[in-house]
Symmetry: D2
Subunit: 403 residues, 4 copies
């Protein structure tokens, strides 16, 4: 029975739904068949030679994806939330201050995590419609005469608002004021969607997860760790067991993990890395940028406002679109799910029901995007949300021009 | 190495293509994951009890799909071409006449098959832009005073032209003139897309294949056989070995086949029958009709002509669209494949390069169709084929209206 | 529902059976996961460029497997029975004589096929406990002064008796008497299990199927065709449509087939060829020979008689073992299926219920064989069949010695 | 490239290995095809209605597996190590004492985890050849006049030694002395192999993982939590973020998780629960007990000593066998891997290289076990380890008797 239900096609209350569900949330994203098939294989002995090869391969691959040569890769069987925790507990001590930019819902959750662990989160407020402000970060660091701030934490792509923060600029701000804080970057929904340069940007700890741009099922998360952050771990006093980097640094050499690794998810990760290499990272980033622009052109044609107000901060992987006052984004999403079998992302926190989010990250091509945008436009009509027709046409025109 | 290539995502000359290929040919059609996963299982002993259950289940299912209670189901590991041959060699003798309507390329191929087997194919010509003409059939039968015509052969859905023939009307024509010929119907690309009533329409032999509306990989084909056709087999003198119905009639009872059956394809077929039952046949047919209409509205908006000139004969599963004189449908298809990763059907025989065919049969939903139509519209622009924009918008408007 | 059943684990009347079923029939054989996963992929346009690559790859691979450089490979969506028919209808005319050696059940079925198609099968009898007799073949050909015999047909590995015929010796016998008959060899259950040299042995038509040594699901069959056999096709008068070699010879160049090919089974075939190349044909043949010897040592230890009386004719892929008079092989197989979840091959025709057949062909390793032999030994005990214990131990000793 | 390697069959230095690898480690265990196929499906929106159904289903299923009606199920994307940590941080405060029985390597690791988190682990020593001693536990609790001990931690099945502890007896010991400590039980490698009664035995926190008796890939772990343990969480002061039970208690009602759940592993878990229900828990436990006894009979016949000295403590899922002094268990395992493609468990900690461990847990049947035991016996011969032949025969005799 369970097996049947699990394998059943998606269905609604009435019966079986034909065709492929359009999964246009900003994660989990569509899983390539190559990735799914790679995972569909018996487990192996995680202490045998075949596993060692796999372990080393995925660590090398993740170095490439993060853009680091010297960084240590901590690979966890855990969600991204766990990797946030790992970043903090491996480097900080109770009462340390962390400087965070309140760019959206995920920044808020990370703040909560820090507080729960006994840290003091110093928040730089935003209107949730732009990225982190490097100048504000510089100011806050300048003001930190006692050096209480031990880490600057930035969410690279705020999945909730579809605003990108400029990590290189944040690094520059830290350096400009000569502050010694570590730079921690949540790259959960940016990695694999647009450029990320761990070494080039001077990141100390990057956090990511498998289920977004990496096209891998949820269940794996990552830290990339600079030598400076590793060194900080020596004196950090937050308790750590599962998340401890020390045995994982050994795993970077041997390919063997201190606990039973999520073997099948590692098969998936290896396959996904192979796909990314085959497409090529510049091609992947260009594709995301093109689809994001097509999506924004559709929104503009509909006459709907983007959540992100700063054109330099547009996300490559997700676009949050606002519905007019007096209308419900969640009702729209419900109608689209019911009638067109598409899942869109919902508004979170203070923008609940105010935005819907179109995910266009990971394994997606132009015609899938066109189907998704058509679904939104048909949904707007069904929901009676004031808009102009023509968004689909505008996106098509742009995609044809840039083909 | 081979395994790697087989499992590799689709790719072009440049590199790996992301996202899902749009397979919009009129067969093979998209295979539901449920069907693929069902097939992805070790073989079983085809002489053991577990196989008997499977064999009986798929035969019962195919009876339901064909709409027959008394018909014998012959199930072949073979392409549809083989099932054409089976229909002829089990019922006819050398020199027998078969009356065929030359409705398109597949009618032409069936004619060739009949001639190769030693039959005389009597052809009723058409312009390849409509279905078979029941009146012409009645006339030809009336003229057959010596009773040389032993079978009337009709291609239900001419995949090459997207014109449907009216099988019930053909039956009526035969009965009206009181001719004893068998009625043989090629339902290869109609079954599972629109109504088919083997018993209700008085069909004697229906031919079908797995890879169209049934959503099963190619490699299985079928005959449904009326008692009258079974009886004809007793005196038919065309040689038959592999195709012989007699042992398959036994298989209808026992579930065991006279040769090693294509076990994994039968797993797939059983799963596909389950999906069809879950969606419901009326819902399946309504979905196909709606998508066909949306496609025709797009074509009308583009200002392109349909190959099918008879509105009563529009195919539910495929729409052949003509390109203007002086333009190449194949070049268009090539550009669409290259830039938008979509496969469309090509023109065959006398309409080679004059039409492209949009398959909208099998496991497809509204947003997949919208993606496909967007791909066509963008391709028309890239190919410089004169057309009006707005086809996608017209289809979306219709689909939203009828949601 | 159907999907659930299809995907359900094997089960008996009582409930779900744990672990892997032991499929020890001589076909279908166990399918490697790599082969199953390769098949578990959406279909592609069989007229597009990606298919052409696949088609050419599997034809090249099958040339390698058959051991031929110049042979044409006819690849059918059909069971092996179809490929028997193809061999006959492409080369012969009504009333032609074919010389067959009645080595077992499959020779008998091939005879029936020939007779149904209008040929005259001249049978050389055997006791079903050895291979074809080259001397008897030479004698029969010598006596054929009128040249009525157009083909000598030999079943290379008689799956029903586990006796191998010496194809090279048969070729030698034909050449010695200077007869012009074609040499046709059924290699269905020998290909991929032991050496086969189409060119080296001078075979004119070889017949094979996917589901034995090739480790591919049932549903594909093959002819390899010498230039002499192709030439015979020019004057052969048996009717042929589906089986016609002429368009398939074109497919050998282009990779495109005259009908919709069984795309997913071709994915499987490509993957299986890749596995065979990776293991290496000499290693594959040595493995089969070793497992066959281990199986015979177990039988000898049990004190049970082999069906095959000629040590030179022992099959590499299957071993038929006789049960003592007064005991039922089928009852034994039933008990083993019920209690140990293993399928063995049954006795066919005149040795029905007298033998059980242990398949050890295809994707199998030493420990799987040991499990299978243990299942037989435990089954003999349960069935009360007189035997000595120690067969498993004898096989283990041999396998350890030869490790 | 990576995809190819991931999907490649297991291989050794020489080339491709045929047949199925024998994965006889005590976890990860063999994954049923039904489980693998269930996982091989696109992700879904973890905030949509379809996910809610899945979430509630697996929580209900895990309640059944743990044997609890009132227990809260915490389900983590994490290895079992994480679930150990979760058990501690949700209930305890810095400096709390935990009473542990040093039954083997995993008890040792849990101790280390407790120390790292700021707890004081009070260890009851053993010789690693038996389960925890309830009398010693009672004594230690009696001596704890100040009530420093807040938890009694027991590893139910010590995977490293194959000794089971009697959980009900430990509960009885705690109750007898009237101590208020929580009872925490590591059921990672016992759950699904033999009886586990969370409610019946009065467990407060049970810890388990997916990759052992549950037949699910590694990457999920669990806590079952009694109301008393939940209440302890209210005052516990160890920092907790990711592991916090509070939001998971909400998930028990809604089916939605506070972070992105490992969707595909949950598909697998649902399928595995379905398989367990279909076989039936009593049947599953009886099967494990029978295979464990067969394995011990083989060891006895070989003349090799079991690591476990207490017949009441024999593990249902794994059997650790000692090699004679002067011989290397790891060398034996290496030879068996190389020559017979089987993975066995290695000795850990103080019994490194002294034992090899035969896993017989999860999805395994009698013939797979026989193959595994044959592999061990052949390996003993190859390794030159003094032993008597006949272990395989002894196991077969027992299995046939009890069929």
């Amino acid at each position: 029975m369970s097996a049947a239900l699990t394998n059943a096609p998606h269905s609604n209350a009435v019966g079986r739904l034909p065709g492929r569900h359009f999964l246009q949330t900003p994660g989990p994203t569509n899983l390539p068949d190559t990735v799914l098939r790679a995972m569909d294989r018996n487990a192996i002995n995680h202490r045998g030679p075949e596993f060692g090869r796999l372990g080393r391969a995925v660590i090398a691959g993740m170095r490439e994806v993060f853009g680091t040569q010297s960084g240590m890769i901590a690979l966890y069987p855990a969600s991204g939330t766990g990797a946030w925790e790992a970043a903090l507990v491996n480097t900080l001590s109770p009462g340390d201050h962390v400087l965070m930019s309140h760019t959206g819902w995920f920044a808020h959750l990370w703040e909560q995590m820090a507080e729960r662990l006994g840290l003091v989160a110093v928040m730089l407020e935003t209107d949730w419609r732009r990225g982190a402000d490097p100048a504000a970060i510089a100011d806050a660091l300048s003001a930190d005469k006692e050096g209480r701030i031990k880490a600057v934490c930035v969410v690279h792509n705020e999945t909730s608002t579809s605003c990108l923060s400029d990590v290189a600029a944040v690094r520059h701000a830290i350096d400009k004021v000569g502050h010694g804080a570590l730079l921690m970057v949540d790259a959960i929904s940016s990695l694999g969607c647009g450029p990320f340069e761990f070494d080039g940007w001077g990141v100390d700890v990057a956090i990511s997860g498998s289920q977004k741009g990496l096209m891998v099922p949820p269940g794996l998360s990552f830290n990339a760790v600079s030598p400076k952050a590793m060194a900080a771990g020596k004196t950090a006093r937050l308790a750590r067991g599962y998340w401890d980097w020390a045995p994982l640094a050994v795993a970077n050499e041997t390919g063997f993990f201190p606990y039973t690794p999520a073997v099948n998810l590692l098969y998936a990760l290896e396959a996904a890395i192979g796909l990314m290499r085959a497409e090529g990272f510049p091609a992947i980033y260009a594709r995301h940028a093109r689809f994001a622009e097509a999506t924004r052109r559709a929104a503009a044609a509909w006459g709907l406002e983007l959540q992100c107000l700063d054109a330099r901060a547009y996300s490559p992987g997700v676009t949050a679109v606002r519905v007019p006052e007096g209308h419900s984004a969640d009702k729209l999403r419900g109608l689209i799910l019911e009638h067109f079998d598409m899942s869109l992302g919902n508004g979170l926190g203070r923008i609940e029901d105010r935005v819907f989010r179109i995910g266009h990250m990971g394994d997606i091509n132009a015609l899938q995007l066109m189907g998704a945008l058509a679904g939104v436009e048909m949904g707007l009509a069904l929901a009676g949300i004031p808009h102009r027709a023509g968004g689909v046409q505008a996106a098509a025109a742009y995609l044809a021009e840039t083909a």
